[in-house]
Subunit: 222 residues, 2 copies
Amino acid sequence: MGRIAILGGTGPEGLGLGLRFAMIGEEIVLGSRQAPRAADAARRAQERLRVVNCTTPIHGEENQAAVRGADLVVIATPFAGVRELLPPLAEMLAGLVVLDVVNPLIRVDKQFTIERVPEGSAGEAIQALLPRSAVVSAFKTESAESLNAIERPGAGDIVVCSDHSEARTRIMALAERIPRYRAVDAGPLINARSLEAITALLLNINRRHRTVTSIQILGLQK
Amino acid sequence: MGRIAILGGTGPEGLGLGLRFAMIGEEIVLGSRQAPRAADAARRAQERLRVVNCTTPIHGEENQAAVRGADLVVIATPFAGVRELLPPLAEMLAGLVVLDVVNPLIRVDKQFTIERVPEGSAGEAIQALLPRSAVVSAFKTESAESLNAIERPGAGDIVVCSDHSEARTRIMALAERIPRYRAVDAGPLINARSLEAITALLLNINRRHRTVTSIQILGLQK
Protein backbone atom coordinates (compact mmCIF):
# COMPACT_ATOMS: atom_id res chain seq x y z
CA MET A 1 0.00 0.00 0.00
CA GLY A 2 2.94 2.31 0.64
CA ARG A 3 2.56 4.79 3.47
CA ILE A 4 -0.65 5.19 5.45
CA ALA A 5 -1.28 8.49 7.23
CA ILE A 6 -3.90 8.45 9.98
CA LEU A 7 -5.41 11.84 10.86
CA GLY A 8 -6.59 11.57 14.43
CA GLY A 9 -4.09 8.75 14.79
CA THR A 10 -3.53 9.45 18.48
CA GLY A 11 -7.20 8.71 19.33
CA PRO A 12 -8.18 5.15 20.22
CA GLU A 13 -9.88 4.25 16.91
CA GLY A 14 -7.13 5.71 14.71
CA LEU A 15 -4.39 4.23 16.84
CA GLY A 16 -5.99 0.77 16.89
CA LEU A 17 -6.35 0.82 13.14
CA GLY A 18 -2.73 1.98 12.80
CA LEU A 19 -1.57 -0.97 14.88
CA ARG A 20 -3.57 -3.43 12.79
CA PHE A 21 -2.20 -1.97 9.55
CA ALA A 22 1.36 -2.00 10.92
CA MET A 23 0.93 -5.67 11.78
CA ILE A 24 0.33 -6.48 8.11
CA GLY A 25 3.50 -4.60 7.20
CA GLU A 26 2.19 -1.16 6.29
CA GLU A 27 4.29 1.87 7.21
CA ILE A 28 2.19 4.14 9.41
CA VAL A 29 2.24 7.86 10.18
CA LEU A 30 0.04 8.90 13.08
CA GLY A 31 -1.15 12.47 12.57
CA SER A 32 -2.17 14.88 15.31
CA ARG A 33 -2.69 18.61 15.64
CA GLN A 34 0.41 18.65 17.85
CA ALA A 35 3.60 17.06 16.52
CA PRO A 36 4.98 16.11 19.99
CA ARG A 37 1.75 14.32 20.85
CA ALA A 38 1.95 12.36 17.59
CA ALA A 39 5.59 11.45 18.18
CA ASP A 40 4.79 10.28 21.69
CA ALA A 41 1.85 8.13 20.48
CA ALA A 42 4.07 6.64 17.77
CA ARG A 43 6.75 5.74 20.31
CA ARG A 44 4.23 3.99 22.55
CA ALA A 45 2.64 2.24 19.56
CA GLN A 46 6.04 0.94 18.53
CA GLU A 47 6.55 -0.52 22.00
CA ARG A 48 3.18 -2.26 21.90
CA LEU A 49 3.97 -3.71 18.48
CA ARG A 50 7.25 -5.12 19.75
CA VAL A 51 5.25 -7.31 22.16
CA VAL A 52 3.61 -9.01 19.16
CA ASN A 53 6.96 -9.20 17.32
CA CYS A 54 6.08 -6.50 14.80
CA THR A 55 8.87 -4.10 13.80
CA THR A 56 7.09 -2.08 11.11
CA PRO A 57 7.97 1.60 11.67
CA ILE A 58 5.31 3.93 13.08
CA HIS A 59 6.00 7.66 12.85
CA GLY A 60 4.20 10.60 14.40
CA GLU A 61 3.73 13.96 12.68
CA GLU A 62 1.57 17.05 12.74
CA ASN A 63 -1.49 16.35 10.50
CA GLN A 64 -0.34 18.38 7.48
CA ALA A 65 3.13 16.80 7.53
CA ALA A 66 1.66 13.32 8.04
CA VAL A 67 -0.34 13.57 4.84
CA ARG A 68 2.72 14.45 2.75
CA GLY A 69 3.85 11.45 0.73
CA ALA A 70 1.01 9.24 1.98
CA ASP A 71 -0.56 6.71 -0.39
CA LEU A 72 -3.63 6.29 1.76
CA VAL A 73 -5.04 8.78 4.26
CA VAL A 74 -7.32 7.64 7.06
CA ILE A 75 -9.73 10.13 8.71
CA ALA A 76 -10.12 9.06 12.34
CA THR A 77 -10.76 12.39 14.05
CA PRO A 78 -13.95 13.25 15.92
CA PHE A 79 -16.65 14.25 13.44
CA ALA A 80 -16.89 17.69 15.07
CA GLY A 81 -13.43 18.48 13.71
CA VAL A 82 -13.63 17.48 10.05
CA ARG A 83 -15.19 20.66 8.64
CA GLU A 84 -12.20 22.63 9.95
CA LEU A 85 -9.51 20.03 9.42
CA LEU A 86 -10.18 18.91 5.87
CA PRO A 87 -10.63 21.97 3.62
CA PRO A 88 -6.99 23.09 4.02
CA LEU A 89 -5.88 19.54 3.15
CA ALA A 90 -8.23 19.04 0.18
CA GLU A 91 -5.61 20.02 -2.40
CA MET A 92 -3.01 17.62 -0.97
CA LEU A 93 -5.56 14.79 -0.77
CA ALA A 94 -6.75 15.25 -4.37
CA GLY A 95 -6.39 12.02 -6.33
CA LEU A 96 -5.86 9.93 -3.18
CA VAL A 97 -7.94 7.22 -1.58
CA VAL A 98 -9.26 8.50 1.76
CA LEU A 99 -10.51 5.96 4.29
CA ASP A 100 -13.21 7.38 6.56
CA VAL A 101 -13.76 5.61 9.89
CA VAL A 102 -15.63 8.48 11.57
CA ASN A 103 -18.90 8.03 13.47
CA PRO A 104 -20.88 11.21 14.25
CA LEU A 105 -21.93 9.90 17.65
CA ILE A 106 -23.91 11.86 20.19
CA ARG A 107 -25.54 10.82 23.46
CA VAL A 108 -29.26 11.12 24.13
CA ASP A 109 -30.46 9.95 27.56
CA LYS A 110 -27.33 7.84 28.06
CA GLN A 111 -27.81 6.09 24.71
CA PHE A 112 -25.49 6.58 21.76
CA THR A 113 -27.10 7.71 18.56
CA ILE A 114 -26.02 9.48 15.36
CA GLU A 115 -26.34 13.22 14.97
CA ARG A 116 -28.21 14.52 11.92
CA VAL A 117 -25.60 15.25 9.30
CA PRO A 118 -26.91 17.47 6.46
CA GLU A 119 -25.07 15.34 3.87
CA GLY A 120 -26.61 12.16 5.33
CA SER A 121 -23.54 10.67 7.02
CA ALA A 122 -20.00 11.50 8.08
CA GLY A 123 -18.79 9.58 5.03
CA GLU A 124 -20.84 11.69 2.63
CA ALA A 125 -19.84 14.90 4.46
CA ILE A 126 -16.15 13.99 4.13
CA GLN A 127 -16.60 13.18 0.44
CA ALA A 128 -18.24 16.61 -0.05
CA LEU A 129 -15.30 18.26 1.74
CA LEU A 130 -12.80 16.33 -0.41
CA PRO A 131 -14.46 16.36 -3.84
CA ARG A 132 -11.29 15.31 -5.67
CA SER A 133 -10.50 12.36 -3.37
CA ALA A 134 -11.98 8.85 -3.44
CA VAL A 135 -13.58 8.53 -0.02
CA VAL A 136 -14.22 5.00 1.25
CA SER A 137 -16.17 4.38 4.47
CA ALA A 138 -15.19 1.21 6.34
CA PHE A 139 -14.10 -0.08 9.75
CA LYS A 140 -16.71 2.24 11.29
CA THR A 141 -18.35 -0.58 13.22
CA GLU A 142 -15.09 -2.01 14.56
CA SER A 143 -14.68 -0.83 18.12
CA ALA A 144 -11.50 0.85 19.28
CA GLU A 145 -11.30 -1.82 22.00
CA SER A 146 -11.14 -4.72 19.59
CA LEU A 147 -8.81 -2.90 17.19
CA ASN A 148 -6.44 -2.20 20.09
CA ALA A 149 -6.54 -5.76 21.44
CA ILE A 150 -3.74 -6.65 19.04
CA GLU A 151 -2.89 -9.94 20.74
CA ARG A 152 -6.26 -11.21 19.42
CA PRO A 153 -7.34 -11.39 15.76
CA GLY A 154 -10.22 -9.23 14.55
CA ALA A 155 -13.79 -10.52 14.42
CA GLY A 156 -16.75 -9.86 12.20
CA ASP A 157 -17.23 -8.17 8.88
CA ILE A 158 -15.72 -4.97 7.55
CA VAL A 159 -18.54 -3.51 5.47
CA VAL A 160 -17.11 -1.17 2.84
CA CYS A 161 -18.84 1.51 0.76
CA SER A 162 -17.72 4.21 -1.65
CA ASP A 163 -18.83 5.95 -4.80
CA HIS A 164 -15.40 5.08 -6.25
CA SER A 165 -15.37 1.40 -7.05
CA GLU A 166 -11.61 1.02 -7.54
CA ALA A 167 -10.90 2.65 -4.20
CA ARG A 168 -13.54 0.43 -2.58
CA THR A 169 -11.86 -2.67 -3.97
CA ARG A 170 -8.51 -1.47 -2.69
CA ILE A 171 -9.79 -0.97 0.87
CA MET A 172 -11.55 -4.34 0.77
CA ALA A 173 -8.25 -6.00 -0.17
CA LEU A 174 -6.48 -4.14 2.64
CA ALA A 175 -9.12 -5.22 5.20
CA GLU A 176 -8.93 -8.85 4.14
CA ARG A 177 -5.18 -8.93 4.76
CA ILE A 178 -5.91 -8.43 8.47
CA PRO A 179 -6.41 -11.90 9.99
CA ARG A 180 -10.06 -13.03 10.39
CA TYR A 181 -11.66 -9.98 8.82
CA ARG A 182 -14.00 -10.47 5.89
CA ALA A 183 -14.70 -7.44 3.69
CA VAL A 184 -18.27 -6.99 2.46
CA ASP A 185 -18.92 -4.79 -0.57
CA ALA A 186 -21.91 -2.57 0.24
CA GLY A 187 -21.70 -0.44 -2.90
CA PRO A 188 -22.22 3.36 -2.88
CA LEU A 189 -21.22 5.73 -0.10
CA ILE A 190 -24.83 6.41 0.96
CA ASN A 191 -24.55 3.15 2.91
CA ALA A 192 -22.21 4.93 5.34
CA ARG A 193 -25.46 6.15 6.97
CA SER A 194 -26.23 2.59 8.00
CA LEU A 195 -22.68 1.78 9.07
CA GLU A 196 -22.64 4.78 11.41
CA ALA A 197 -26.02 3.80 12.85
CA ILE A 198 -24.75 0.26 13.46
CA THR A 199 -21.87 1.65 15.52
CA ALA A 200 -24.31 3.47 17.81
CA LEU A 201 -26.31 0.25 18.24
CA LEU A 202 -23.23 -1.84 19.00
CA LEU A 203 -21.99 0.66 21.59
CA ASN A 204 -25.38 0.56 23.33
CA ILE A 205 -25.40 -3.24 23.25
CA ASN A 206 -21.81 -3.28 24.56
CA ARG A 207 -22.72 -1.17 27.56
CA ARG A 208 -25.89 -3.12 28.32
CA HIS A 209 -24.21 -6.52 28.04
CA ARG A 210 -20.74 -5.48 29.31
CA THR A 211 -18.96 -6.87 26.28
CA VAL A 212 -17.43 -5.80 22.97
CA THR A 213 -19.50 -6.70 19.94
CA SER A 214 -19.13 -6.59 16.18
CA ILE A 215 -21.42 -7.52 13.31
CA GLN A 216 -21.52 -10.26 10.76
CA ILE A 217 -23.64 -10.35 7.62
CA LEU A 218 -25.21 -13.80 7.23
CA GLY A 219 -26.30 -15.19 3.89
CA LEU A 220 -23.40 -14.16 1.65
CA GLN A 221 -21.91 -16.81 -0.58
CA LYS A 222 -18.27 -16.53 0.43
CA MET B 1 -49.46 -15.17 23.84
CA GLY B 2 -53.16 -15.36 22.97
CA ARG B 3 -54.26 -13.70 19.75
CA ILE B 4 -51.87 -11.74 17.54
CA ALA B 5 -53.32 -9.12 15.18
CA ILE B 6 -51.10 -7.99 12.33
CA LEU B 7 -51.98 -4.61 10.79
CA GLY B 8 -50.68 -4.69 7.26
CA GLY B 9 -50.86 -8.45 7.53
CA THR B 10 -51.48 -8.90 3.82
CA GLY B 11 -48.14 -7.31 2.90
CA PRO B 12 -45.09 -9.58 2.54
CA GLU B 13 -43.40 -8.64 5.85
CA GLY B 14 -46.58 -8.86 7.94
CA LEU B 15 -47.68 -12.06 6.26
CA GLY B 16 -44.27 -13.72 6.70
CA LEU B 17 -44.25 -12.83 10.37
CA GLY B 18 -47.81 -14.13 10.72
CA LEU B 19 -46.77 -17.46 9.23
CA ARG B 20 -43.80 -17.74 11.60
CA PHE B 21 -45.96 -16.92 14.62
CA ALA B 22 -48.65 -19.40 13.49
CA MET B 23 -45.98 -22.08 13.24
CA ILE B 24 -45.23 -21.70 16.94
CA GLY B 25 -48.91 -22.08 17.72
CA GLU B 26 -50.08 -18.47 17.97
CA GLU B 27 -53.55 -17.63 16.67
CA ILE B 28 -53.19 -14.97 13.99
CA VAL B 29 -55.50 -12.29 12.60
CA LEU B 30 -54.26 -10.62 9.43
CA GLY B 31 -55.58 -7.07 9.26
CA SER B 32 -56.14 -5.06 6.10
CA ARG B 33 -58.07 -1.95 5.11
CA GLN B 34 -60.36 -4.24 3.11
CA ALA B 35 -61.94 -7.20 4.90
CA PRO B 36 -62.21 -9.37 1.74
CA ARG B 37 -58.54 -8.87 0.99
CA ALA B 38 -57.65 -9.93 4.54
CA ALA B 39 -59.89 -12.99 4.33
CA ASP B 40 -58.33 -13.99 1.03
CA ALA B 41 -54.77 -13.60 2.40
CA ALA B 42 -55.73 -15.65 5.46
CA ARG B 43 -57.11 -18.44 3.28
CA ARG B 44 -53.93 -18.59 1.21
CA ALA B 45 -51.76 -18.42 4.35
CA GLN B 46 -53.67 -21.37 5.80
CA GLU B 47 -52.94 -23.37 2.64
CA ARG B 48 -49.24 -22.59 2.85
CA LEU B 49 -49.17 -23.62 6.50
CA ARG B 50 -50.78 -26.95 5.69
CA VAL B 51 -47.72 -27.79 3.58
CA VAL B 52 -45.55 -27.56 6.71
CA ASN B 53 -48.17 -29.46 8.76
CA CYS B 54 -49.30 -26.43 10.73
CA THR B 55 -53.02 -26.16 11.47
CA THR B 56 -53.06 -23.05 13.67
CA PRO B 57 -55.99 -20.89 12.55
CA ILE B 58 -55.28 -17.69 10.61
CA HIS B 59 -58.15 -15.24 10.23
CA GLY B 60 -58.49 -12.13 8.11
CA GLU B 61 -60.33 -8.99 9.21
CA GLU B 62 -60.57 -5.30 8.48
CA ASN B 63 -57.88 -3.55 10.61
CA GLN B 64 -60.20 -2.21 13.32
CA ALA B 65 -61.93 -5.58 13.74
CA ALA B 66 -58.58 -7.40 13.74
CA VAL B 67 -57.37 -5.43 16.73
CA ARG B 68 -60.43 -6.33 18.83
CA GLY B 69 -59.56 -8.98 21.37
CA ALA B 70 -55.89 -9.09 20.35
CA ASP B 71 -53.24 -9.64 23.02
CA LEU B 72 -50.44 -8.41 20.79
CA VAL B 73 -50.75 -6.06 17.83
CA VAL B 74 -48.10 -5.98 15.12
CA ILE B 75 -47.67 -2.88 12.94
CA ALA B 76 -46.48 -4.06 9.53
CA THR B 77 -47.96 -1.40 7.24
CA PRO B 78 -45.88 0.92 5.06
CA PHE B 79 -44.55 3.79 7.17
CA ALA B 80 -46.40 6.28 4.97
CA GLY B 81 -49.68 4.97 6.39
CA VAL B 82 -49.11 4.95 10.15
CA ARG B 83 -49.97 8.59 10.89
CA GLU B 84 -53.44 8.01 9.45
CA LEU B 85 -53.95 4.43 10.57
CA LEU B 86 -52.95 4.60 14.21
CA PRO B 87 -54.64 7.61 15.88
CA PRO B 88 -58.16 6.12 15.50
CA LEU B 89 -56.87 2.86 17.03
CA ALA B 90 -54.90 4.45 19.90
CA GLU B 91 -57.70 3.99 22.43
CA MET B 92 -58.15 0.30 21.58
CA LEU B 93 -54.39 -0.29 21.71
CA ALA B 94 -53.97 1.40 25.12
CA GLY B 95 -52.34 -0.94 27.60
CA LEU B 96 -51.28 -3.42 24.91
CA VAL B 97 -47.87 -4.45 23.67
CA VAL B 98 -47.44 -3.23 20.08
CA LEU B 99 -44.73 -4.81 17.94
CA ASP B 100 -43.37 -2.42 15.31
CA VAL B 101 -41.64 -4.00 12.30
CA VAL B 102 -41.86 -0.92 10.05
CA ASN B 103 -38.91 0.44 8.06
CA PRO B 104 -39.30 3.97 6.65
CA LEU B 105 -37.47 3.05 3.46
CA ILE B 106 -36.99 5.33 0.51
CA ARG B 107 -34.89 5.01 -2.63
CA VAL B 108 -32.13 7.45 -3.57
CA ASP B 109 -30.27 6.71 -6.82
CA LYS B 110 -31.37 3.06 -6.75
CA GLN B 111 -30.10 2.60 -3.19
CA PHE B 112 -32.39 2.02 -0.24
CA THR B 113 -32.00 4.44 2.63
CA ILE B 114 -34.15 5.66 5.53
CA GLU B 115 -36.26 8.78 5.27
CA ARG B 116 -35.79 11.45 7.93
CA VAL B 117 -38.44 10.84 10.54
CA PRO B 118 -38.98 13.83 12.88
CA GLU B 119 -39.23 11.50 15.90
CA GLY B 120 -35.96 9.78 14.91
CA SER B 121 -37.32 6.44 13.68
CA ALA B 122 -40.54 4.70 12.72
CA GLY B 123 -40.47 2.99 16.12
CA GLU B 124 -40.33 6.29 17.99
CA ALA B 125 -43.00 7.80 15.71
CA ILE B 126 -45.33 4.86 16.40
CA GLN B 127 -44.71 5.15 20.15
CA ALA B 128 -45.59 8.86 19.94
CA LEU B 129 -48.80 7.99 18.07
CA LEU B 130 -49.67 5.33 20.66
CA PRO B 131 -48.60 6.96 23.94
CA ARG B 132 -50.53 4.49 26.10
CA SER B 133 -49.18 1.37 24.40
CA ALA B 134 -45.85 -0.38 24.98
CA VAL B 135 -44.19 -0.20 21.56
CA VAL B 136 -41.41 -2.71 20.88
CA SER B 137 -39.32 -2.52 17.70
CA ALA B 138 -38.00 -5.86 16.46
CA PHE B 139 -37.84 -8.13 13.39
CA LYS B 140 -37.15 -5.00 11.32
CA THR B 141 -34.00 -6.44 9.81
CA GLU B 142 -35.58 -9.80 8.93
CA SER B 143 -36.42 -9.75 5.24
CA ALA B 144 -39.89 -10.65 4.01
CA GLU B 145 -38.20 -13.27 1.80
CA SER B 146 -36.68 -15.19 4.67
CA LEU B 147 -39.79 -14.84 6.87
CA ASN B 148 -41.89 -16.26 4.03
CA ALA B 149 -39.51 -19.15 3.31
CA ILE B 150 -41.30 -21.16 5.99
CA GLU B 151 -39.80 -24.48 4.94
CA ARG B 152 -36.47 -23.14 6.24
CA PRO B 153 -35.74 -22.00 9.81
CA GLY B 154 -34.90 -18.34 10.47
CA ALA B 155 -31.32 -17.07 10.59
CA GLY B 156 -29.54 -14.34 12.47
CA ASP B 157 -30.42 -12.19 15.44
CA ILE B 158 -33.67 -10.46 16.29
CA VAL B 159 -32.49 -7.24 17.91
CA VAL B 160 -35.22 -5.90 20.20
CA CYS B 161 -35.68 -2.42 21.68
CA SER B 162 -38.38 -0.64 23.65
CA ASP B 163 -38.79 1.91 26.40
CA HIS B 164 -41.01 -0.65 28.17
CA SER B 165 -38.78 -3.35 29.57
CA GLU B 166 -41.50 -5.90 30.35
CA ALA B 167 -42.87 -5.64 26.83
CA ARG B 168 -39.34 -5.99 25.47
CA THR B 169 -38.81 -9.16 27.46
CA ARG B 170 -42.10 -10.56 26.20
CA ILE B 171 -41.19 -9.97 22.53
CA MET B 172 -37.72 -11.44 23.10
CA ALA B 173 -39.32 -14.60 24.51
CA LEU B 174 -41.69 -14.75 21.52
CA ALA B 175 -38.80 -14.37 19.04
CA GLU B 176 -36.76 -17.09 20.70
CA ARG B 177 -39.60 -19.59 20.34
CA ILE B 178 -39.11 -19.38 16.56
CA PRO B 179 -36.47 -21.97 15.63
CA ARG B 180 -32.90 -20.63 15.20
CA TYR B 181 -33.63 -17.04 16.12
CA ARG B 182 -31.69 -15.46 18.95
CA ALA B 183 -33.16 -12.33 20.56
CA VAL B 184 -30.72 -9.55 21.49
CA ASP B 185 -31.78 -6.95 24.06
CA ALA B 186 -30.77 -3.53 22.71
CA GLY B 187 -32.46 -1.50 25.45
CA PRO B 188 -34.41 1.72 24.76
CA LEU B 189 -36.50 2.44 21.67
CA ILE B 190 -34.04 5.01 20.30
CA ASN B 191 -32.11 2.02 18.95
CA ALA B 192 -34.89 1.51 16.40
CA ARG B 193 -33.02 4.19 14.40
CA SER B 194 -30.14 1.78 13.94
CA LEU B 195 -32.35 -1.24 13.22
CA GLU B 196 -34.11 0.64 10.42
CA ALA B 197 -30.77 1.75 8.97
CA ILE B 198 -29.52 -1.85 9.04
CA THR B 199 -32.51 -2.93 6.97
CA ALA B 200 -31.60 -0.41 4.26
CA LEU B 201 -28.01 -1.70 4.26
CA LEU B 202 -29.06 -5.35 4.04
CA LEU B 203 -31.44 -4.64 1.15
CA ASN B 204 -28.63 -2.91 -0.75
CA ILE B 205 -26.25 -5.78 -0.03
CA ASN B 206 -28.95 -8.27 -1.10
CA ARG B 207 -29.38 -6.60 -4.46
CA ARG B 208 -25.65 -6.25 -5.06
CA HIS B 209 -24.85 -9.84 -4.10
CA ARG B 210 -28.15 -11.42 -5.31
CA THR B 211 -28.85 -13.08 -2.00
CA VAL B 212 -30.89 -12.65 1.17
CA THR B 213 -28.89 -11.53 4.18
CA SER B 214 -29.48 -11.05 7.87
CA ILE B 215 -27.29 -9.85 10.70
CA GLN B 216 -25.66 -11.44 13.67
CA ILE B 217 -24.14 -9.66 16.65
CA LEU B 218 -20.78 -11.24 17.53
CA GLY B 219 -19.28 -11.06 21.00
CA LEU B 220 -22.34 -11.71 23.18
CA GLN B 221 -21.99 -14.30 25.91
CA LYS B 222 -24.94 -16.51 25.06
